[in-house]
Every structure is written in C-alpha cells, then in structure tokens.
Amino acid sequence: MSGSGEPAVVFESVTKRFGDRKVLDDVSFAVETGEALCILGRSGTGKSVTLKLMIGLLKPEKGAVKIRGQNIVDLDEDGLSKVRRQIGFLFQSAALFDSFSLNDNLELPLARMTKKSKEEIDSIIQATLDDVGLGKDRHKMPAELSGGMRKRAGLARALALDPCILLADEPNSGLDRVTSSEIDDLLLGLKEKGKTTIVIVTHDVRGARRVGDRMAVLEKGRLLAIGKAEELENHENELVRALVSEKD
C-alpha cells in the first residue's frame, strides 16, 4: 500500500436507513490509495450497502462519501457517471448480462466509455480475459460458465476500464476453497501492481487476511473495529476476535 496523498475512499459519519431500519449508523473510515481493505461482519450488518454507497447506487441519509476527495452524495447522474468510471464493481452474483456473450459483457463499457477503436477494444478484451484465465471462453454465454468462471468474468468486466478503485462484494461466496483461492490470487495480483485500491466485502477470513492490508468489522450497522489482522486478533470485543480468527 502506498498510503500517500488523499485517501481513495472516505466515509464520514454515514447513516443509511431502509424505512425504519437503520442499516448503517454513523460509520466513518478511510481507505488509502493502493490499500486493500476487507470488510467483515455477520449477514445483514450493512456490508454490501457500504459498497453500494461507495459507487453511488445508494445515497445515505446523513454523512459524506468521498471518492478521491470528491463528495458523491449530492452529485447528479452526470457527476456520478464520471466518478463511477474510476470504479470497478464485482457483484456477489457477478451480475453478468445473461443475454450477452462474455465478449459483449466486456465490450459494452469499453465501447461506450472510451473512444478506442474496435481493434483496440478487441485486444483489451482478450488481454483482460487472459488475465483472469478466460481467454478461450470469450464467446461463451454466462449460462455456459461455472460459478468460479462467472466470478472471474465479473472481475474481468469490473477491470475492463482499468479502474483505480475496485469494489468486490463477496468474491468468494459459493465457491470451493481452490476456486476461492484462485479469485484471491487475482485480487492479490492486482494489489501487487500497486495502483488499484481494493475494498472487499467478505465472509472468508482466510482470503481477507491474505489479500487485505487492513480489516474492518461491522455489526448492526456500526463499525466495531478497523485495523490490521494482528491488531484485531487482540481486540477487546469478542465478536471482532471471532470474525478475524482463522480458527473454525
């Protein structure tokens, strides 16, 4: 992690409600540029909501969400669109467009968001798919892919525009340990290149400890703890210790 300059992502006293239910309650933290932060917590504690707030798919009732210094809470669609171009999002279900081939899934953002020629787009698609090990599956439909391949395809699409921030929502969920480890390798490789800030929501402690520089623990919408794995292992809160412990 570089840790220099302005943080890539800042949450300032963010509160988010769905009806009467408070999903996030006064949450504040920052993710430095080039850092990998893993957010852990029990189901329904607001982890995925945190990611969606970072990309402006949801708006908080209170507080500020800053991406590279810019508060995105009050931005209009055009402003949000500019911010989103800097962010790649890997959804929990991969969210591939099921009526498009893998090639078209990657071509869609490249053709619309860049002014690159057809040949350049083709070579970027091939290179990105090669990076995630799907170079030979370029013309397959999402329905023809396994769970792990779908996750890798989702990651390829998220990386197609070469974002400076990658948000990954449970990249290992529903995968066996080997496939899960392959996804972690890809994220680790990305981190080692040093220019991408990564925020991962996960239940997989092993992967989180491997990929993450720091971990954050959410519980009932509140940030219980944030820090390095070794620090959180000795945290005063039992839930924090349990969530970051590698022991089953």
Binding site: F91, S93, A95, L96, L108, M113
Partner: protein, 256 residues
C-alpha cells in the same frame, strides 16, 4: 379509500416513468443497435404466433359469418365483411392482445430478473444509463413492431378466410380480393393499423415499468410478469374504445 390511494399512487408512478421515458428517448446517445435487437425480439419472434392466430381467427370468423349471412342471402358479402372486420378491429386488437401476452410478460420478467440479479445495478456501476439502454429500446421496438405485426395479422386472417371460401364456394382468388377490398379505403386501413402503435406504447411502457421498478425477490419477477400482461391487456382494450371514437371523429369515412 386505500384502493383509491393505491390507484392514484400507481397512476402517478406510471406517469412519472412515462415522462422520464419521453425525455430520455429524445436525448442522445440513441441505442440503435439495441433498438434493432429488440425489434427482432418483439416483432420477428412474435410473427409465428401472430400469423397462426390470424389464420385461425380468419377461418373461424368466415365460418361463422358465412352461416349468418347465408340466412339473408348475402354470402357474396363475406369477403367484404371479413376484410372490414379484420382491418378495422379484429386485426389490431388481437395483435395487440397477443403481443401483450407474449412480449409484455417477457419484458416484465426479463427486466425484473435483471433487477433482482443486480444486472441493472451493474449497468449503472459501469456508468451506463440503464433506463436508456433497457427501457427506451423496448418501448420504441413495441411502437414500431405492433403496426407491422397487425398488417401480417390482417393478411393471415384474409388468407384463412379465403381458404374457407375456396373450399366451400370455390371462389377464385381475384374475385375474393376484389370483393374483400371493394369497401376498403385508406381511412379504413391506415388509422386502425396505426392505432396499434399506441398499443405498443402501452405494452412497452407498462411491462417496462413493472419489470424495471420491481424491488422484490424471485416472487417479484413472477408478479411483474403477470401484472405486465394483465394491466397492458386491460389498457389496450380501454384505449381501443377511445381510439375508435377518435378515428371516427378524425376520419369520418371509416365510420360508415
């Protein structure tokens, strides 16, 4: 009281959705590729259903009108009655209802499924306007495809009618066509055919509304699909009443 409130809420939401669609439809970029893709989905893939239904309705209608007109010794009018009833009402209405069933359910379910599986969120996350990419092309495709499908419906209906006449009274094709088109003018063909563009607008708008705005899980997909068909069909029939009155007012020749 609650039902009225819900009805007003629904009407308001659909109205906002429609105004949003109109504003987005006239602003670039225009999703030409997606529009052609949707015209294929809505038009080309509905063609077998429309042709088969039109043919069957043409057969049955001729058999029924034949027995009725025979009582008055007016069987020579069968081709005329059939063409007028098809061009004026049966073709447009049945084409509208068939497409509402096939396409309305498809659009409602597809968009709702995309919402539930976060595909719409993924489009937004890629800085792409999901409304423009998903809703506008479907809307335009429905508006363009419906009048074309109606023409095919009319042709299939007349073909069915001719085959019945041919088998029973050995009527020749030129004579059948001459009788069928003797009372048909532009005013009895163009306005009723073009009114199906309004049916297309209703199908595209209602089914996209239910699919795009669903916020429930898997059950929401089924509900969006059912609501799309039910509300589209109902609005097609209701709007038909108003459109027929409007056509009679604007084109008095068609109200003979």
């Amino acid at each position: 009281m609650v039902a009225i409130q819900r009805y007003l809420e629904f009407t308001g939401k659909v109205g906002l959705f429609a105004s949003h669609a109109v504003c987005r439809a006239v602003l670039p970029p225009f999703e030409v590729r997606m529009i052609f893709r949707q015209i294929e989905e809505v038009g080309w893939k509905s063609l077998p259903l429309v042709l088969a239904s039109g043919f069957a309705v043409g057969l049955v209608l001729t058999l029924h009108t034949r027995s009725s007109l025979l009582r008055f010794g007016a069987e020579a009018m069968i081709p005329t009655v059939q063409s007028l009833s098809f061009f004026n009402e049966i073709g447009p209405l049945i084409a509208g209802l068939l497409v509402a069933g096939r396409v309305g359910a498809g659009i409602g379910a597809e968009l709702a499924n995309m919402r539930v599986t976060e595909q719409i969120d993924a489009i937004e996350a890629l800085s792409i306007d999901s409304f423009k990419l998903l809703v506008i092309p479907r809307l335009i495709a429905c508006i363009i495809a419906l009048p074309i499908l109606t023409v095919f419906m009319d042709v299939a209906g007349l073909t069915g009618g001719y085959l019945v006449e041919r088998s029973i009274s050995h009527l020749s094709l030129p004579l059948f066509l001459e009788q069928a088109f003797s009372q048909v003018g532009w005013a009895t063909f163009i306005p009723p055919t073009l009114k199906t563009a309004v049916f297309g607008l209703i199908i595209g708008l209602i089914s996209s509304f239910f699919g795009y705005t669903t916020d429930e899980g898997a059950s929401g997909v089924g509900r969006a699909s059912t609501n799309s068909v039910v509300i589209s069909s109902l609005l097609i029939i209701l709007s038909d009443v108003l459109l027929v009155k409007a056509i009679f007012f604007l084109f008095p020749d068609s109200a003979i």
